[in-house]
Symmetry: C2
Subunit: 218 residues, 2 copies
């Protein structure tokens, strides 16, 4: 697969089939993760793949609790606004994302694999997220759908206890990535134009390039 | 370019030529950045590309100050250890990285482009680093070398003032990425095996897959 196709079509794929991911595919995903850079090339990272039904069951309970917190706090106003303007294209799109996230919470245990990334001494996330994103891009190349969630942050102690992460070694939770073969189709996700969110030399200055993306269209 | 080649060979490329990066290449890099996922698809990000000589000059001064702090604090013991075991392959490799980082500090102003990523409401870095890493992978596909540095964190107020980032809007600095056409060659950077840093189901448990990487060899 061409790099551009992977960059443009690796969208959040939460609805996946229960079919297991073969071991050689998992190997290629993990081997792609460690190719990412890390501060001082320290590689102070650990990757945890979860496919055991009992562990997924315990995580699923916590995950549903996290999502309840998320919807009733951080996204409370956003949901109310989207419901109040339900004909608005942006609201429609956002409620689609929410339903997809709800699907993942309700069907957590049926997802074949969860991938977790942890790092030590990584205050910005800059040493773990390129690795996590590499894993997701490598999964895309294998036809494996993935979606990144930070929701476990809301009940982190419970999640880390289930995964038996040592509490005294300074491991920072990066993210949880659900992985499986998608039920839906790949495609380019909607985004605001790069021109709108890019500046040149100083904050707020026109970037000086008109970017009518997506510049890759398949 | 195949996705695997990009994932395996996008290594830190600090030594670059002063040749400018064409505008259409910058456009494709920015358009790739915004294809990344972000929490709730909020896209609360901004990308700042810096190629103005005066701005680079001011940033370069601050950057050299940051690197002095970095070497004399966080990496002080590591440098001493590497110098004490200078025949050790790991020490040799680490001092190579340090010399490359020193090159970037000394030649900051000759690098044609710096790319900065910022996000709002992103405590883990999970909403900005996939975008930053997308930009670096897209750069790789264009033959543009890139290296990610968080060093500005050490004198963040000074750097943000130069870039005129509004201090009261909650913008979190993600990273600075240097970009230019490399003087050296692309290749797969050395890494510890994925088997060593991966677990299955719970922390410390054997991942159950022997991964004798790199699984992509070109």
């Amino acid at each position: 697969m061409d790099i551009r196709e992977a960059l443009y079509t690796t969208r959040a794929m939460r609805r996946v089939k229960p079919d297991p991911i073969p071991e050689d595919v998992i190997a290629r995903i993990l081997d792609a993760a460690i190719r990412a850079p890390s501060g001082g090339n320290a590689q102070n990272w650990r990757f945890l793949v979860v496919d055991d039904a009992a562990v997924k069951g315990r995580l699923g309970e916590v995950y549903r609790g996290c999502m309840e917190v998320l919807w009733s706090t951080i996204y409370k106003d956003k949901i109310a606004a989207a419901e109040a303007t339900s004909d608005d294209p942006e609201s429609i799109q956002w409620m689609k994302v929410k339903r997809s996230a709800d699907w993942l919470a309700e069907n957590f245990e049926t997802v074949p694999l969860f991938f977790f990334g942890f790092a030590q001494g990584d205050p910005t996330g800059g040493s773990i997220f390129p690795a996590i994103w590499n894993a997701m891009l490598a999964a895309r190349a294998e036809g494996v759908g993935a979606s990144l969630t930070s929701a476990f942050m809301l009940k982190l102690d419970e999640a880390l206890a289930i995964l038996e992460v040592p509490p005294d070694e300074g491991w920072i939770f990066g993210a949880c990535v659900s992985m499986g073969y998608p039920t839906g189709r790949w495609g380019v996700a909607p985004r605001r134009s790069a021109t709108e969110v890019s500046y040149r030399n100083t904050w707020g200055s026109d970037v000086g390039i008109r970017i009518d993306g997506p510049l890759w269209k398949g």
